[in-house]
């Protein structure tokens, strides 16, 4: 199993958010999670990425034969996990080039691969940016600083395509994107998709799932997965909302 979440319960500030959650993702699969606001989708994404504010009450997570809780934030990333944030953080004064370059090299180091030199990295960044319709001038700006909502989302996908993760978690990457941008971004995701990597896509809209075909759709309500199935579930939700799952 590639990612295996067993009976996960998570609390923050005396509030139970995730409750006995189970989810299995195999290599090469695309999973979608849909659920009402506040149901715990971003919490799950953050716990997977290693954010430290949460209290894990019970449960186990296995990722590529590791106990995920044995890995710190950067080790998870170096092992191939990537989170495209729902709300990317603005970091004034930090340029994407040196930061992403150092990030990719720490991954290579962990995998015992050769590091990428400055020049090759700059080339890689440029070509990926142009694939995603990102202006070269934007690469000179500080990370997310002053970016529009849609620009931030594209920037997340740019980072994803550079780091080429084994498991990508996209937290509402579609919200804030106009229709053309959605097309470009989902093209980017589909290009990256192989039989060896997996995606966990959090979204509110069926639209995204028209572009990125999920193998499984899960409904998350109140901190648990209450129903799993194929894309027909997305259509159901689009039509009737979450009422009947609650």
């Amino acid at each position: 199993m590639f990612l295996e979440i067993n009976d996960l319960s998570v609390k923050i500030e005396n509030k139970n958010i995730l409750k006995n959650l189970n989810l299995n993702i195999n290599k090469g699969e695309v999973h979608a999670i849909m659920g009402p606001n506040g149901s715990g989708k971003s919490t799950l994404a953050n716990v997977l990425a290693g954010k430290e504010d949460y209290e894990i009450l019970n449960g186990k997570i296995n990722f590529k034969d590791n106990d995920l809780f044995d890995l710190n934030i950067e080790e998870r990333a170096q092992e191939g996990m990537f989170l495209a944030f729902q709300y990317p953080v603005e970091i004034p004064g930090v340029n994407i080039t040196p930061f992403l370059h150092s990030a990719i090299n720490s991954k290579k180091k962990r995998m015992n691969e050769d590091e990428i030199d400055n020049l090759s990295f700059a080339k890689l960044l440029k070509s990926k940016a142009s694939d995603l319709g990102i202006n070269i001038d934007m690469l000179k700006r500080s990370v997310n600083t002053g970016f529009s909502g849609g620009e931030k989302k594209r920037y997340e996908i740019l980072q994803m395509s550079i780091l080429n993760p084994d498991l990508a978690i996209l937290d509402e990457t579609d919200s804030g994107l106009d229709i053309d941008a959605l097309k470009i971004v989902t093209d980017g995701v589909n290009k990256l998709k192989t039989k060896d990597n997996s995606f966990l896509i959090i979204t509110h809209y069926q639209k995204l799932l028209d572009y990125i075909k999920p193998d499984f759709v899960h409904v998350m309500v109140n901190g648990s997965i209450v129903k799993s199935g194929g894309s027909e579930i997305a259509a159901e939700i689009e039509k009737d909302g979450f009422q009947k799952f609650q």
């Binding site: 990425a49 290693g50 954010k51 430290e52 710190n72 934030i73 950067e74 998870r76 990333a77 170096q78 990537f82 989170l83 944030f85 990317p88 953080v89 970091i91 004034p92 004064g93 930090v94 040196p98 930061f99 992403l100 150092s102 990030a103 990719i104 720490s106 991954k107 500080s142 990370v143 980072q159 780091l163």
Partner: protein, 408 residues
């Protein structure tokens, strides 16, 4: 020993002690010391200061054996090594260097911008034992680098320097304070900018733990002149940076900036004060600090706008990153405005490093320590990228790397 006895005992080695006006002034200073209750609450010069060490000190001064060197490289660049606060006389058609004289002392003693209970400035006047005066002649464009060297342990140097930029001149001044011995340097820079002159003043401070540096400056700007001061404090010993600026004629400008890097139990006290006394003047006061371990800093900034100083633009900012729960940074901006047509603002943000930013960077695979370092560098990125002197930029970068290498 009290201040008065200390002075009497060492008088013969102290500058100008035979001059009547100087004597009168010093009597006043001694009275201030006698009558002061040293109330730390109401005296910025006493914050975080171990009074006993500073008031009850053992006076010691040595006249340097070797006279200081001046290199004129024929390209308007001068390199000065000031030893125990002394510098040999020099004169060419662009600059002139002499010892300071009684008139310089008396002229400064009339200033009313520095509070009369600033005891470090008062000690400086009382125990004055060295100092020099540099005049940049009209319309010249000059670069000067001064290395301030102290030869022996336990020296107490009380130094007054005067810098005069004559009309239309431009001076790029780099001062290095890098002392490794157990001594105290109390230095006062009196800076005068005549019409249409410009001074870019850089102070690099990197002393070892047992060296105390107390540096005060008083600059005054005439019509169309600009004074820019940038302080980089990497010292492991105590440093006090108190800098005062008066904009006395129209369209002049003062920019007082500082960055300090503290660790261990180090203390840094900072103050900037700009007095707007004429129309159409601009000022900027920005200090940024990075504090680790149990270090402590204070920063007082102050913009004073006189009633004639219409169309003033004054800006104050204080920023700090606390890398440890035990570090503390106290900052207090003040504005006193007596004119109605002014644009003034102040801001202050001090806190731990942004955890969300750390999480974001780590989630891309960067280690916690690398993420912390990149965020610290970005915090001062603006100040560093504005250094237009390659050599200096390199020196400062090296010192930052050294500081960051100790951050865990």
């Amino acid at each position: 020993m009290n201040i008065q006895d200390n002075y009497q005992k060492n008088k013969k080695n102290i500058f100008f002690s035979k001059n009547k006006d100087v004597q009168n002034h010093r009597e006043k200073l001694i009275n201030i010391f006698k009558n002061d209750r040293f109330d730390k609450k109401n005296n910025e010069s006493l914050k975080n200061v171990n009074l006993k060490n500073f008031l009850d000190f053992k006076y010691k001064y040595l006249v340097p054996e070797e006279t200081s060197v001046i290199n004129n490289n024929n390209d308007n660049t001068y390199s000065i090594v000031s030893v125990n606060g002394q510098c040999s006389n020099f004169k060419d058609d662009k600059i002139e260097i002499t010892k300071i004289v009684e008139e310089d002392y008396n002229d400064f003693s009339k200033n009313n911008t520095i509070a009369n209970n600033d005891h470090f400035v008062n000690l400086n006047s009382l125990f004055l034992n060295c100092g020099f005066k540099i005049i940049i002649k009209k319309n010249n464009n000059i670069k000067i680098k001064i290395s301030n060297i102290i030869t022996d342990d336990d020296l107490t140097i009380f130094q007054k320097n005067n810098f005069i930029c004559e009309e239309g001149s431009s001076l790029n001044l780099i001062e290095e304070y890098e002392n490794k011995n157990n001594s105290t340097l109390n230095i006062l820079n009196v800076i005068k900018l005549e019409k249409n002159s410009q001074l870019n003043h850089f102070l690099i401070q990197d002393n070892s733990p047992n060296h105390n540096l107390i540096i005060t400056s008083h600059s005054s700007c005439k019509k169309d002149s600009t004074y820019i001061q940038k302080v980089y404090n990497f010292s492991e010993g105590y440093v006090r940076n108190f800098h005062f600026s008066e904009l006395i004629e129209i369209n002049s400008e003062a920019d007082l900036q500082g960055i300090f890097f503290l660790k261990d139990n180090n203390i840094s006290n900072n103050k900037t004060f700009v007095k707007h006394l004429a129309e159409d003047c601009k000022s900027n006061q920005v200090y940024k600090g990075i504090l680790n371990d149990r270090s402590t800093a204070t920063y007082f900034s102050n913009t004073h706008v006189d009633q004639v100083a219409q169309k003033t633009e004054g800006y104050q900012l204080s920023k700090g990153i606390l890398l440890s729960e035990n570090a503390s940074y106290f900052s207090k901006p003040e504005l006193k405005i007596y004119a109605d047509d002014v644009k003034c603002s102040h801001g202050s943000t001090i806190g731990p490093i942004d955890e969300n930013a750390i999480f974001y960077l780590r989630s891309r695979g960067m280690s916690k320590i690398a993420a912390t370092k990149i965020l610290i560098s970005s915090f001062i990125n603006e100040e560093l990228s504005s250094i237009d002197n390659d050599q200096m930029s390199e020196i400062i970068q090296k010192k930052i790397v050294r500081y960051l290498s100790k951050v865990k």
